[in-house]
């Protein structure tokens, strides 16, 4: 099976197709593929603790989707308290994931 690395740079407040992308992520996972969701730029906005998306991340995590958020993007946006199911990360990790064999990287 393929590992899909999804780089999410957009947030649901600004992007009309954010929800469709999340649906695709779930479908990929339910089809048996490994999926990593890497949030960066405005994609980290909903990783802030207390938003209405906490249950969404809980559900993704329960499916076995690993969720990472770019530390630099979090810092730029003053996000310190994060949703429990999202892990702080950095672009070095993004590179490592992108170069993992059998990985397809998709930027949204």
């Amino acid at each position: 099976m393929t590992h899909y690395l999804i780089l999410e740079s957009r947030d649901p407040f600004d992007s009309a197709d954010w929800a469709t992308m999340q649906e695709m992520i779930i479908n990929l996972r339910e089809s048996g593929h490994d999926v990593t969701l890497f949030l960066l730029q405005n994609g980290v906005l909903i990783a802030r603790k207390g938003t209405s998306f906490e249950s969404h991340f809980f559900n993704l995590k329960a499916l076995g989707i690993n969720i990472l958020a770019d530390f630099f993007s979090l810092q730029e946006r003053g996000i310190q308290n994060m949703v429990m199911d999202v892990e702080k990360s950095h672009l070095d990790r993004l590179i490592q994931l992108c170069l993992t064999p059998n990985t397809k990287t998709i930027w949204h």
């Binding site: 405005n42 070095d92 992108c98």
Partner: protein
């Protein structure tokens, strides 16, 4: 760890989108980790390497050119070429020729080459990872 190769295609013009900054950060991270990077820049991204970019003062803030210290993408990319050299890896930067012609962006910094979509296809085929950053 032996070096791997990342191919990255970018489209955003300088100063217009956070995508450009993130792309340069990704390239920096890959080079810093000892990997080769192949960049294919097309559309507005061919302006990232224009030699004539210049910093400026800011009359509203009352800063001089030196005080403002306004960054230019061509200087950042020059620094990436220097990083690649220091790490003993390759940064290959290709600007799409047609996009360059349309924009008059042909006078670029050292290290950049003119090319076309075939260069991107060849890079992809020779790479361990591929990332395309689309513009809106």
């Amino acid at each position: 760890m032996s070096p791997q190769t990342l191919s990255i295609a970018i489209m955003d013009a300088p100063y217009e989108s956070a995508n450009s900054t993130t792309a340069l950060r990704i390239i920096h991270s890959a080079l810093n980790q000892g990997h080769h990077v192949h960049v294919f820049a097309y559309e507005g991204a061919v302006n990232l390497t224009m030699k004539a970019q210049a910093p400026h003062a800011n009359a509203i803030k009352g800063t001089t050119v030196e005080e403002e210290n306004h960054p230019t993408t061509k200087d950042w990319i020059t620094a990436l070429f220097q990083l690649a050299k220091a790490k003993g890896v390759t940064l290959k930067w290709v600007n799409c020729g047609l996009c360059v012609d349309e924009r008059g962006a042909g006078d670029w910094i050292d290290g950049v080459h003119r090319g076309g979509p075939q260069d991107f296809i060849q890079s992809v085929q020779a790479s361990d990872g591929v990332l395309v950053i689309p513009t809106r």
